[in-house]
Structure formats: structure tokens, C-alpha cells
Symmetry: none
Subunit: 265 residues, 2 copies
């Protein structure tokens, strides 16, 4: 069985690429709900409904492990989906999110004050605050919404990013954070620009934390690992073959990627 990676847009493709780079032997299936992206501005109920459809689809396509590689969907839909797919009822079906590995990594690196840079909806959900405080209640956390970074990445606008990043990180700089969670799976593509704006701060990047966390998870759960086929297969599905997903795939994989286009309901 395969590892499924789901996102509304190209963030999942970034994580999918990072996973297959770190753990190349497994079979991966990427699913991007590009026709309905971005999820960031949608209501919680809509995000849950779209995520439910995506997870059901990936399970149906023979994935035994689905990573919701989208912080918005991890915040708004993961817990409810995990309750609907209880391991006791569905031993071959497991759903993981991207919040907890990032929270764990931040807590292990900080001296006490963590910043979170994310989409407006992830910031409002306070999901990172909750996950970090579950691990270490005394942690100081400062959040900052960065709503334009995803559209910049999705519309070939990285060259315009610096002044926009500066506007977003200036308030964080003043608070004295020592560690910054890049709490959106698109943001690894702006890692260098963000690091340049905050040279003293340790960045937590999900293209590093998610593969490390999955490797660790599979080591600790040999029974899960045993369900996974290891043929190095790759499948890429989207609900709309947009210019930006094709561009991102070419950039990440160094060549054109064959996408299957389908409709979810």
C-alpha cells in the first residue's frame, strides 16, 4: 500500500517531494485539490468536507497512510477525520497531520519564545499554540499571519516577496522570538528570503520536519511500515491541472510530471 499526501495546492507537492527524497523506497500518491484551492479563506465546515473527500479518495486508491500536508486542513479537519477513521476499526488506515511534528521540532530547539508564521486561518485557529502548549505549557508564542505568501508562490511572484516578508516579520523581530515555525507547507520555497530577514532566528521548516517525523514514526511502528509497498512508485493527481502546479512540479522534480486530473465529490 502507498503513502498518500494531500493538500489543497502545491504545498503538498513540496512535502511529497521532500518525503520521497528522504524515504525514496516507498510508493507515494500525491493528491492536490487544486480546483478548490486555496482552503485558507474557507469556513471550517467547508475545509472539513473537502478534506474528508480527499482522505476517502486516497484510502480508496490503496493508501494505508495519508499525510494531510496542509496546515489549514490539519488544524480544521484532522482530529475529526482521525475519529472517523479510528485505528481500532480501520487498522490499515492512518491519518497524520503536519502541525505536531513542527511543534515538537520547535520545542526541542527554542530557548523559550517561538514565533509562528502562517496563513490567516491557521493563525486564527491557534492550532500551533495549542500543540506547542500541550508539549510545554510555559512556552511563549507569538503568531503572525502572512496571507500573501501562498498567492505569491502560486503565481510566480517570489521575486516580489522581500518587502512583503519584511512587513510580516518586522513585528516578530521586535518581540524577540528565537525560533520561527514556517507554518504553511508552501513556505519552504521562501525559506532563504525569510532567513535573510531574520538571520538570528532558527527556522522550523516542514519540508525537513515532516520527513524526519515520518521516518521516526515508521521505525517506531513496524506494523505500519509492513503495510507499505516499496517499489519507489510515484502518482500525482489533481482536481485541476493549473499552471502553478505544473510549474512547481517542474521546479521540484527537475522535469515535467504526468498529472492525472479527476473530480471529487
Amino acid at each position: 500500500m502507498k503513502i498518500g499526501v494531500f493538500d489543497s495546492g502545491i504545498g503538498g507537492l513540496i512535502i511529497s517531494h521532500a518525503l520521497s527524497d528522504r524515504l525514496p523506497e516507498y510508493d507515494y500518491m500525491y493528491f492536490g485539490d487544486t480546483a478548490r484551492a486555496p482552503y485558507g479563506n474557507r469556513s471550517q465546515e467547508t475545509i472539513y468536507e473537502y478534506s474528508r473527500q480527499a482522505v476517502a479518495f486516497l484510502f480508496q486508491q490503496d493508501c494505508s497512510l495519508v499525510i494531510i500536508a496542509c496546515n489549514t486542513a490539519s488544524a480544521e479537519a484532522l482530529r475529526r477525520l482521525q475519529q472517523e477513521w479510528l485505528p481500532s476499526h480501520f487498522p490499515d488506515r492512518n491519518i497524520l497531520g503536519v502541525l505536531i511534528p513542527a511543534a515538537e521540532s520547535a520545542v526541542s530547539k527554542t530557548h523559550g519564545h517561538i514565533g509562528v508564521l502562517a496563513t490567516a486561518s491557521t493563525v486564527e485557529s491557534k492550532a500551533f499554540e495549542r500543540e506547542i502548549h500541550k508539549l510545554r505549557p510555559e512556552m511563549r508564542i507569538t503568531q503572525q499571519a502572512a496571507p500573501l505568501l501562498v498567492p505569491l508562490i502560486e503565481n510566480d511572484g517570489q521575486r516580489f516577496a522581500s518587502p512583503i516578508i519584511e512587513a510580516y516579520v518586522a513585528p516578530l523581530r521586535d518581540t524577540g522570538i528565537d525560533t520561527l515555525v514556517l507554518g504553511c507547507t508552501h513556505y519552504p520555497l521562501l525559506k532563504n528570503e525569510i532567513q535573510a530577514a531574520l538571520p538570528e532566528v532558527t527556522l522550523i521548516c516542514q519540508d525537513e520536519t515532516i520527513p524526519a517525523s515520518l521516518a521516526n514514526y515508521l521505525e517506531r511502528h513496524p506494523e505500519r511500515q509492513a503495510t507499505l509497498s516499496q517499489n519507489g512508485g510515484r502518482r500525482f493527481c489533481v482536481t485541476d491541472l493549473t499552471r502553478s502546479v505544473q510549474q512547481a512540479a517542474r521546479m521540484l522534480y527537475g522535469q515535467d510530471v504526468q498529472f492525472e486530473v479527476l473530480t471529487l465529490e
Copy 2:
């Protein structure tokens, strides 16, 4: 009966506000299909189907005149919808788009070379080229896609717009256009920045052309005007109560707007 204004997102709200500013006595009903926005990347069939549902809903809600305040939907669905709601069969039902008034205005003002600034999908559809060439086949037209402008407007990023606008208009400036159609109903909110980048060029803004065109239409069709109630009423419906539609409404109307949230099928 009311005037209905339909769009996938906040562009329709901008046009709706401009209409009620110019012709305040009428009753308006705005409908924004925010749960399924943006339409720009969807297939023609999907755009037609969503637009058909929206128009049927507005007619059902006692609108006798519906303005499709979305260039994508005007390009992809207007003609077919007009054929389904023929005035000979439905004398109290009329549908207008936003392409033709902008094309007419551009043709009346240009010295021969018109630019079109629009979303990637509107540019690809060549809808403005077709409408302008129907009026004046000899017209020279240069199109430019500006994919980041809608995200900037929808995410409070207008202050970052200038360098991005400069990158989009520089190729247009070099071609020597004398008139520029702002071919997206969001763009009136960046009118000043675009004019500053192209000070010699005449801008065609749909928040001016659509109200002027409707005023003219009602003057020429007193039988249509007679169907419209004049109580200054305003109703606002959306399929998802997003942050950006609330913000845009507050900005346009100077106060919070009460939205009704509903599902279309």
C-alpha cells in the same frame, strides 16, 4: 423587482456598490459564490453550471435583471444563459454581462491601440479581443495577464502592489497602448496605482462603465425600468462567509454588512 448582481467573489461586491452609488433608488441583491471562488481556473462547463445556478437563484429571489459582474463568467456562460432566458419567453427576466460595456467604452475612447489587463483565464479566453473586434475589427489589442492582483486585493496587500503592477504594465507601456481596459471587477480598487504607472493612458474601469451602461439601458428600456422596485433595498448573500468578503464590504460600505449564507445546487 430587484437588480441582482452575481460574481464568484468580491468583484461583484465592488460593482454592486458602484451601481447602488450611481442608481441608489433601486433594490439590489448581491450574490457571491465565495465557497466556489475563484472561477478563473475552472472548466467552461463548470463555470456555466455555477453561473446557471446563481442566475436561477437570483431570478427566484425576485430579481428581474441580473448582472453577471464577473469577467470569467461573462466570457464563459453569458451567451448560453441569455439563450435559455430569452426575452420573448421571459419578458421579466434579463441578464447582462460586464465585457460589452467595457469594450464599448474602450472603443469610444481609444486612438487605435487598446490594452487589456486581466486574470490569466480571461486573457486566455480572448473574450475582450472578440468583443472589441466585433465593434471595430481594425483595432489593435495587447493583452497582459496580472495573476497577483486579485490575491493582493483579497488579502489586504494593496500597499505592496506598486512594484507588481509595474512588472505587469511595463510590457504594455512599451507597446504604445493609449487605452487600458481593467478587465477584472476587482481592479477598480487598484485604479490609482495602475494610473500612476501609466499616466498617459486612459483607463476603462468597470465600476464606472457598468453603472453608466445600466443607467443608459434603463433609459432606453422604460418597460424594463417599470418592473424595478425603488425602495433603496440592499441584500447580500454568499455561499461562504469569508474574511475577505466581510473586509471588502466594510471597506466599501464603511460599516459591517449583514450577509445571508446559503448553499446552491
